[in-house]
Amino acid sequence: MQQSPIVEIRNVAFGYDPARPVLRDVELAIPRGSVVGIMGQSGCGKTTLLRIIAAQYLPTAGEALVLGQATVGLDRDGLYAMRRRMGMLFQFGALFTDLSVFENVAFPLREHLDLPEELLHDLVMLKLQAVGLRGAAQLMPTELSGGMARRVALARSIALDPQLILYDEPFTGLDPISFGVIVRLIRELNDSLGATSIIVTHDVQEALGVVDYVYFMAAGRVIAQGSPQEIRESGEPFVRQFVNGSLQGPVPFHYPAPQYADDLELAST
């Protein structure tokens, strides 16, 4: 018998203004143990979808079932209980700048568990070792490079051994080496923790190498889905343009504008 999905998004719509919804009729199911990519252009609603999964936003219509619970109707305690089983890596790490690397990783442990100091120390070192930064434990976040900060944040987000790890644009602004490290870590941590990972990204080529399944979004809808291989071979014009990064395709280079000649006032002369 197949296990139920860890995240189920059913017919979800979301928008601040009903006339301009950010998400429309989004349907997806994320199986346990997988690494799933949600991809698409900037502004297509993928980060909003991630925030719906994280229960930071509530859907205006439809239902989001996360870790077996509907996010709508959860009270503060229920929400926090759910989030304790979740980890999230923010785009630029969001490390606490007044705490050292060690204390950043120790933060969720100190807040939620009443551990003796030696055990806490060992746990933090274990997590830092997993991301290769045990030697940087005493540094402050300002002393870290972008890639290192991302790895520390990753160590912090897995501190409580989450069942679900959410990545918000984890590859942005990384050099090729840091990038390779993060890709490898996402896969390794997912498999060793027995967790499920959701990666929101627009770095399609890179992400296709790490994910098991892809949802492709445009204008607030899921327009294509499949394995990385299927996405690479997709006939959908938008997906093709996006995967190949070409200028030709349904997404125009120019933002909608009046006639060029009118803007330069050529007609009046």
Binding site: A54, Q56, R76, L79, Y80, A81, R83, R84, M86, G87, M88, F90, Q91, F92, A94, L95, F96, T97, F107, P108, E111, H112, A153, R156, S157, L160
Partner: protein, 272 residues
Amino acid sequence: MQLEQLREHARGRLERIGNVVTSQVWRLGFASRFLFYLVMHSGTALRRFGLTMKEIYFTGVLSLIIILVSGLFVGMVLALQGYETLQRFGASESLGVLVALSLVRELGPVVAGLLFASRAGSAITAEIGLMKATEQISAMEMMAVDPIARVVAPRFWGGVISMPLLAALFSAMGIFGGYLVGVQLIGVDAGAFWSQMQAAVDLRNDILNGVIKSVVFGVAVTWISVFEGYDAIPTAEGVSRATTRTVVTSSLAILALDFVLTALMFTGGNNQ
């Protein structure tokens, strides 16, 4: 036709005024709910008092220099100006009373409050605003840690505890400054300076009222600071605007509250 336009114009203006008023009332309501939530979730800040102690250090101890130096100078100026006026009436021995009452009742809480708002209040707003802008607040929420309980409440209580202590130190330094100038420099009799002060300053009417004022200002300034930081638009411009609003709103609040409190405390109250 023109009348119609005029009417339209007036309606537009009225609408704008209405919008501003309702949005301000809404904001005040939001700030009040925020304060209520903050007080209700202060358990962590009080149980793990180390968190609050750290904030007392940042808002209180690090404000000491500006508070002590300002207090000293305000007291010195008070003595110079006070002596100048008092000696015309042959009452220069009352200099100690004048300096002490001015400081304890008014200048201590008010000036220390204004300095506190610009030194510590702005720092609290900027810090919380930047934490929000760099997603540290969101990260905390995602770790199932309530940022109001963990970040805002310790800063609030830190400020509320620091402010009366700073005001008291300001007044003490001011009286010392008054002594330096009045007794050491001008030559007012030291015995008269201190004994008249001791006889005239009442523990309940003067000192306790001064302390109450400084507690009220401490709550007002810190409340405004944490709320503006938490409510800041999470961009560089948003944080800068929020910081400015903290200093302006806190200063106006201190002056307005001071008037109200003075009216309640010192008008006719002494005769009863």
